[in-house]
Structures are given as structure tokens and as C-alpha cells.
Assembly symmetry: C2
Homo-oligomer: 412 residues x 2
């Protein structure tokens, strides 16, 4: 595995990793713009644009796009996050030029036909409905909204129905022009490829990307708050959030270790106490999300209504106990999990393609896995204990729940 | 990539594929017993047993099991299907002996402590609640129940709450003794390994598996029927089912091609007509499930209540149109997708480990990818058209829906 990076004269960055033993290649075009870059009235436009880039270009209809990639057995897809947008393809090795052709076409020459837009709005409204019907999806949107109240980072990626209905072709075109600029684009690929050939393909196909610098995103601030949503469900879905840390914060690796110890795997304190000792939940885990400026440390648990009021004290108790001291071997176990997880993430081509693109967008360099492992290794018990204390001492917390009337008894 | 198979003297089969470029290994123990092998009063016991094997052995507590595997950064997990049960681990290459030790320990020396069982029943009841809260999970259980009414294949994998509450340690122990026998077990691994060393480890650790032949499963028969579940949701979740085919049926590959053309990807007729042309759904797709004796061809779509009555005629219309003839290039496109999909499935270690184990259990051999690709290639237009006609002519269909009152207008 050998990573190579090339920065083109127009500012587009290209990164690749060749795999000798595979027959396929995963290719992604990363754009450094996400829902948190939207104004309130444009909330949802990054995601709507992502959909509309599949709806036809100057030379390809929507059907052509689908047919051309699938005729060679390839896949084409995309997703939008709060921070950025990824368009990606996976194809057999000989079809890399075709994948590059199609991805470059939809990014540069999409038509935004009004009739197609109206139809696609219906699809997005259906997608919003599907998310609303999945309690352990929507509760995370609600947690995010309370954690970063009134700020772009708190809004949903799909946007509101009203916004989606109001978007025009001109809005989309303008948003693309402003944000899909050369300095804001990273192209990454992993698999059966040659780096020089890949760079040549990018130069051949990506000729009309407007020059421009990375998008400047406003900083966000954790606010905390509560969001209780009553719905007739079998379970109560509970999420808790605390102010977390940014990607380049000194606490980043300690936070990973802390989250692994508290709620990372089967050996974690929450899994052992909530599920194994008390049978209060099937799913219980913690997570740490990070952005360039801020982040959130969070916990999810789903439980029956009869256990709702028991759960929060147990979780709180585990967090407090962890702040008083680590058990023998506990930090080494968490580090072993994180280091092995870093190794395993290297092996799948698509996840590695995503990692390379994201790192180049965020850090403007690829972080060697050894460097990440060393930083994990360097985390000390004191770092974790300090973090554990600082989290439980936070005055502002976020809490979101969905379920029956018992949700009020569960609040943090 | 080179597959090697060894059948041990006690009947356990071992299959492996060495990967030179990876640092990890995925190891799975397949047991050829699933929920369809259960009597009605034992429905859920295969899954309950799968949970209980993590709850302590003669020499390891539940916590020890979690700690030992995670101390080396490994993962340990399991799942139950209607046909079989898989226990698997992913570890760094030097930890293969430990993974084998732990998997063999939980399969042979689990204690089924009564107190652990009572707690684990609570976890399973929480898992049932979580499934109930996910409309596009539970609707598939309901479809299965109407498609194979009154038969083990129609029952849910998790079982009923009443059953789960009634299981005893003795039930679990008996079920394990009867079904976890040498002829019913396949051990598969993919990654950084040596086949001979792996066989030696199996021989060293799997010494107490009772000798026995593969479980004989009763044959099932597609019945069809309807299941409408009213629930206040944003969407109507619709599933349709037809009598499908078994793994070794001559229609198996034609069915794969048919399902790909009708609802397989972005270029499929359902995606193009339902989503792209009409904006009626975000998710719409078809699938073909197969067992040793039977199978189901099915379709899922989620839509808003206002579109519920439109959807079924559109789906029906696409199925009828497809039976009248294929478009130019359509069959080649479907074949290209299936063949590339087969290539891609080889590359990820865990999915390849699963494929090898499943094939050895079902066919008692590993099917070379070239053979599968040739069978895909051999499917003719007439095969697909005949299948398309025979499906729409079926008198018995299955239909399950969950959502508001409009679900009754959507029924097939």
C-alpha cells in the first residue's frame, strides 16, 4: 500500500493508493461543503444538489448516467454530511476512465432541469418521511439540533420540507458555482490503478471546475438543551450529548480512548453494566463526533418504557465511576481496540478511499497509520481521567428522546 | 487467492483463503441450524442460544469473553438467520489462535447459567422492541409470515416474547447438543493465515463437538396471504412477495437476472419508473431470497400516504411490461452488474469468509467465481421472459404493509 498525492495547477488535489491484489477500484470526488455551510433558508440545498447531479448533464440524461455505469457492472452513489459531500463509484479496473468521465460530467455539466427538479423534490420528501419513521435515525437529528441550537451545525442534512419545496434551479446552480471550486475538491481512489494514469484522467476530464479556495465555514458552539418527542413506540430511544472536541484538539485521541472505555465495544463499561449486568438495553454505545472547530461526545440507548427511568442514573453512575479511576488493563484494552481498528479500516478499498479523501480535505495531508497509532499509544491514564471529569462537570448537556410518556422520566 | 478445504475425521469441515497483503484474519464458525429448524414453541431458541453462548463458559465469564478478545483489539459477534447461525471474529493475524480458542470455548463449554439467562432474556425482549420500532424491518417479518403461513420458515428469527420468556437452560443445552454437531459445522477463515496451521488449531480446540450429521430441515411451501398493520407513520411501507426458487433450481440465475432488471439498481425498471420518472419513493427495490427447498421473489417500496394507491399499479405495470419483452442491451447490463458484484464480493475479507462458509454448508463445495459468472452469462432472454410471465401469473401472492389507513388501498 503506497499513498501518492498530486496537487494540480488549478488546485484540485488527487490522492491514490494502489492495491496489487484487487481487480476493482473505488473512486471518490470529495467536495468540502456540507449542510453546515447553508443559511437557514437554504438548509437542505447541499443534499438536494447531491441528488440533482444525478438528474442529467448537457450530454447525458438521468437514465444515461444510470445505464452507462451499470452497463459495466459499476456502482455510482453519493452522500452528504454536515461537513462535506462525496460522489463515488466502484468499478472493475478497466472502467476507471468511464467512472472518471461520468463523475466529472455530473459535477461540471449538470443541467438542473426544472421538471427533473420537481420530481426529485418528491423523492427527497419521501426520504425525509423515511428518516422520520426510523426512531434511531431521527433522534440523532434531534440531539444535534439541541446540542447546537440555532446554528447551521444543528440543522438536519435533508433540510425542512418547506425549504426543499422552495429550491429553484437557479439556487442550485449558484450554490454549485460558489462551492464546487477547485480548492474545495479532493479526488481519491484506492484499488487496481496507476497514480500517474489517474492524474492524467483528472486533468483530461476535470477542465471546467471554477478556481477557488476552500469554503470558509462559520464556527459553531455547543449550547445543550432538551428535545422530547412523544410517539407510540415499543422502545424509548434516548440520546445524550456533551461538548466534544475538534479534529485537531489535544483531546482528540484521549476522547477516542475515553469513548472506547465508556461505550465502545462489548468490554465497555456501558455495555457491561447496562446490557450484560442489567439487561436494560439491546443497543447502548457512546460516540465522539468531531469537526474542524468543535465536536460532540454522545451516548445512545434504546430501552423499554418500564426501564426508562432506570437508564439515565445507570449511565450517569458509570460516567462518574469512570472519572474516579481506571481499572487495571482498561486503558491498554481500549488502545488495542483503536489501533487494531485503524489497521482493519485500511483493508477495505471503499472505506480507505473515504479516509484518504477526508484526511486530505481536513488536514491537507494523509496521516500515516503509524502516526495515528502512536498518538493513541501516547494517551495516558491522567488524560482520560481528566477528560472523564471535565465531561461530567459540564453545565450544558444535550438530551433528545423519542418514545412514550416515560421519556420525561429519563431526561438527563 | 487460493481456497483450501479440509474435512476432519470427526466431520467438521474447514475452509480457508489466504491473503498475502492483509494483516488481519476473519474467522467464522457456521452452524447449519436456523429459526426454520425450530418447533413453534421453541421459535426463537436458535437466536436465544446464539446470545447465551456469549454469557460464560466453564473457564470464562461473560466479561472474560469480551475482555480477552477486545484486549487484542479483536471483534467477536454472531448472527442467526432462518437457515443457520454464524459466530465470527476479526483479529490481527497473530491472534488467530486466541480467536479459535474463544470461539471453540463458547461453542463447546458454555454454562447457560440461569441468572445470566434471565438477564439475557431482557436483552432479547429489548431487541424485539427495537425491531418493532423499525417499520422497514418488521414489515419484512410480516411478509415472511404471510408468504410461508403457519410454517417454521414463516416465523421470525427473534421468536415471540412468550417463547423467549419460557426458555430454560435445559432447553438451550438440549438444542445445542442436538444441532451443534460435527457434520453441521463449517469453520471458515480469510486473511493472513496458513491453512495447515488453521486446521491444526481446529483439531487442537474443537475436541468436544458431538459427532452428527447435518440437520434435516422440513421443506416449506409458499402460501401467500396478506398482512396489513396500521401504525401512525410518515410513510407507508409496502412489501410484495411471490413464490421464488431454491439455491439449486434451474431458475436461480435467471431469477437473479430478472430481479436485477426489475429492481436491482439505478438502471432498473422500478427505480427508473417509480423513483426517477414519478418521484413516488426514495427506496424501491426487488430481491430474491433462496433456501435449499424454496425461495421468495419480493419487492419493497416506501411512499407517502397520498401515493399509496398509485404505487401498486405502477409496480404491477412494470412487471407486466417486463414480461412482454426486454429492451436492447438490458440483459447484458444486468449480467454485467451481477458478474462485477461477484468480483467485488471476493475482495472484502469478512464477506468472503461468510460466502465460503455458506457455500460449504449448502453445497458441500466452494463454487469458483468463474463458474458463477458462466452461469450468469448463460442466462438467455427467453429464460428471463418465461420467469417474468410465470411470476405475474402466480395465483398466490404475499403482501404486507405497515402505515396509516391508506395501506388498504395499496394491497396487491
Amino acid at each position: 500500500m503506497r499513498v501518492r498525492i498530486t496537487k494540480l495547477s488549478n488546485g484540485i488535489r488527487v490522492v491514490s493508493e494502489k492495491r496489487k491484489t484487487v481487480q476493482t477500484v473505488s473512486l471518490g470526488v470529495w467536495v468540502g461543503v456540507g449542510s453546515r455551510d447553508e443559511t437557514e433558508s437554504l438548509n437542505g440545498i447541499t443534499h438536494c444538489l447531491e441528488h440533482m447531479l444525478f438528474k442529467g448533464t448537457e450530454k447525458r440524461s438521468a437514465t444515461d448516467i444510470a445505464y452507462e455505469i451499470e452497463a459495466v457492472g459499476g456502482h455510482l452513489n453519493a452522500y452528504t454530511t454536515r461537513d462535506n459531500t462525496l460522489y463515488y463509484a466502484r468499478v472493475l479496473k478497466d472502467d476507471l476512465p468511464l467512472a472518471m468521465d461520468i463523475l466529472s460530467d455530473i459535477l461540471q455539466y449538470s443541467r438542473f432541469d426544472e421538471k427533473e427538479l420537481e420530481r426529485e423534490k418528491d423523492v427527497i420528501l419521501q426520504e425525509i418521511g423515511q428518516t422520520n419513521d426510523t426512531p434511531d435515525d431521527i433522534v440523532f437529528d434531534n440531539l444535534q439540533a439541541t446540542a447546537f441550537k440555532g446554528q447551521p451545525l444543528g440543522r438536519s442534512i435533508l433540510g425542512t420540507e418547506e425549504n426543499v419545496e422552495a429550491f429553484t434551479s437557479a439556487d442550485l446552480h449558484q450554490y454549485l458555482q460558489n462551492n464546487y471550486t477547485s480548492g474545495n475538491i479532493v479526488i481519491s481512489a484506492v484499488g487496481a490503478l496507476d497514480h500517474n494514469e489517474m492524474v492524467r484522467l483528472v486533468q483530461e476530464y476535470f477542465t471546467s471546475i471554477p478556481t477557488g479556495k476552500p469554503v470558509q465555514t462559520d464556527r459553531a458552539k455547543f449550547t445543550g438543551g432538551r428535545h422530547l418527542k412523544r410517539r407510540k413506540l415499543d422502545q424509548i430511544h434516548l440520546t445524550y450529548g456533551w461538548n466534544g472536541c475538534s479534529f485537531d484538539d489535544d483531546s482528540y485521541y484521549p476522547m477516542q480512548v475515553y469513548s472506547t472505555i465508556l461505550g465502545g465495544g462489548m468490554s465497555s463499561r456501558l455495555f457491561q453494566e447496562v446490557r450484560e449486568k442489567r439487561g436494560l438495553a439491546y443497543s447502548v454505545y457512546s460516540f465522539a463526533s468531531s469537526h474542524f472547530d468543535t465536536g460532540m461526545f454522545g451516548i445512545y440507548a434504546g430501552t423499554g418504557p418500564e426501564s426508562a427511568e432506570k437508564l439515565t442514573p445507570v449511565i450517569r453512575g458509570e460516567m462518574e465511576a469512570l472519572a474516579t479511576g481506571l481499572r487495571a488493563g482498561e486503558i491498554d484494552m481500549a488502545k488495542a481496540q483503536l489501533k487494531a481498528g485503524l489497521m482493519m479500516a485500511l483493508e477495505a478499498t471503499t472505506s480507505r478511499m473515504e479516509q484518504l479523501g477526508r484526511q486530505l480535505l481536513i488536514f491537507d495531508r494523509i496521516i500515516p497509520v503509524e502516526e495515528m497509532q502512536e498518538k493513541v499509544e501516547a494517551v495516558g491514564e491522567e488524560d482520560v481521567l481528566q477528560l472523564a471529569s471535565s465531561i461530567i462537570e459540564q453545565k450544558k448537556t444535550a438530551f433528545a428522546a423519542i418514545g412514550g410518556k416515560e421519556i420525561k422520566d429519563a431526561a438527563l
